[in-house]
């Protein structure tokens, strides 16, 4: 019996080690390949050059254009999704009847279940042409359309997590506010949202990191032109799109060109790692605020 218990324990440890080893392996490969890359290209060059043309004859290895493309699409998505997602969360929490909330929340979560390739196509084939009617000089591939569609995709993340943290605010705070003659709107935005702010911040951080890493939508609808621009009407290339482009193409495996994707990947990983740490820190910092 005791041996059986021991065996089960060992099996469980093995299971958890799968995730740890995978993470460690990814970081290791990313780092090793990136180090090899930087032995050939200077890191100063990498962060200051404003052109990214590793696949052309005249080669430049500046990450800034890819970074600007990534940040541009992410910013658009966040600017669109945060107000909307938060308003929906407040509505569901403060205004809607419990029956309506129970009905709407699952539907909203379906948005997160739609395959991103479908979103990408939706951006390219529907959103871009629609936007072109309003903005005539909008490029066929642009940052705006996939940014907005990405925003729609991350709304459920923000709404769901924000609503959870609004719901966790003690009822007594809401009563205190109503008891002083505050309206629903005042109660929601002056008491509930600030009280739930740590959870809301975490939801936004997770949404940002989701948008940074999103690949399919931008690969389909944003184009493949690395350009240092913050003009949403233009075609841009994100870090993820570039990685897809190279790893799917016919670039030889051990060439310098191929190693660029590890440097690009590590850059992205650094960003999402910082964001995740930030969300972890926020969560632990503000825990047990009411007790």
């Amino acid at each position: 019996m005791r041996r059986k218990e021991k065996l089960i324990e060992v099996l469980m440890i093995c299971c958890s080690f799968v995730t740890i080893l995978t993470t460690a392996g990814i970081i290791l490969i990313l780092t090793v390949e990136t180090v090899k890359f930087f032995s050939e290209v200077s890191i100063i060059h990498f962060v200051t050059d404003t052109q990214w043309t590793p696949l052309f004859t005249e080669k430049h290895y500046g990450i800034l254009p890819l970074l600007s493309g990534t940040l541009l699409t992410t910013t658009i998505a966040i600017l669109f999704a945060v107000p909307l997602g938060l308003i929906i969360a407040v509505y569901l929490n403060e205004y809607a009847s419990p029956r309506f909330t129970a009905f709407v929340k699952p539907i909203l979560e379906v948005l997160a279940a739609i395959p991103t390739v479908v979103y990408g196509f939706f951006a390219l084939q529907f959103v871009t042409p629609s936007l072109q009617k309003i903005i005539p000089d909008l490029n066929g591939f642009n940052a705006l359309s996939p940014g907005l569609v990405m925003g729609v995709m991350i709304i459920p993340y923000i709404t769901s997590l924000s609503e959870d943290s609004l719901r966790a605010v003690p009822r007594s705070l809401r009563e205190a506010s109503y008891g002083m003659g505050a309206t629903r709107f005042q109660t929601a935005f002056r008491v509930m949202v600030p009280a739930a702010s740590s959870g809301i911040i975490v939801s936004v951080i997770l949404a940002v990191s989701r948008a940074l890493g999103e690949t399919m939508i931008v690969a389909i609808a944003a184009g493949q032109q690395p350009k240092l621009t913050f003009n949403p009407k233009e075609s841009v290339e994100t870090i993820t799109t570039y990685i897809v482009q190279v790893s799917m193409g016919d670039v030889p495996q051990d060439s310098l060109e191929f190693k660029t994707i590890f440097a690009a990947g590590l850059t992205l990983f650094v960003f999402t790692f910082i964001l995740n740490s930030l969300s972890y820190w926020t969560r632990s910092r503000f825990q047990n605020k009411y007790e």
Partner: protein, 248 residues
Amino acid sequence: MFKLETRNANLWYGEKQALKNISIGIEPNSVTSFIGPSGCGKSTLLRCFNRMNDLIENTKIKGEFLLDNTDIYDMDVYELRKKVGMVFQKPNPFPKSIFENVAYGLRIVGGKDRNEIKDKVELSLKNAALWDEVNGILNKPALSLSGGQQQRLCIARTLAIEPTVVLMDEPASALDPISTSKIEDLIYELKQKFTIVIVTHNMQQAARISNKTAFFYLGELIEFDNTDKMFTNPQNERTQNYVTGRFG
């Protein structure tokens, strides 16, 4: 003339009737205690006066509820709650600074003048006998105060909106004896300016601080009279049994 009055008040939570035909009149500038065993309807009645029961689904209310002879259901509910403030059982300061807690009520009515807000915050904290303890630390989080201080902060917050009535739902039940006695002294002071209705489980507290006491049992108002008479010579046997501790 009564400050607060109900006539034939009935209230149901779903199928369950929580208040049965209650008619009571509360005099201005007095302290009235509501006593009775748990589930007797005393808190429910208290929450009728500022329509907090509106927030609970499936609540049906019948009868008349008057503030200064005006039906409170003819008034704007937000205006009503500014006139009839409430202090809750557990201290529930907002997770904001001490200053912002008291300023909250002023801000929601659109108060912008910084000096005016500052003066009113100070005055309210003084009225709540908290000023000497928090003067100089107004920007600290309200949740860093002790439980008793938090409760007086909640009273200050309520006073800042200048109500005429203050409803208190077992305001000292979560506090230690010293904090409790501070709250009781405060209630005695506040009577000069406000009409106070307090729900309490503590019989000595009711006897100490209130002018009149109402005894509730199973949703009915059993007896309502001057406090000393209620505790020394109650007319109803159930009141007698309850105040002497024989049941409840």
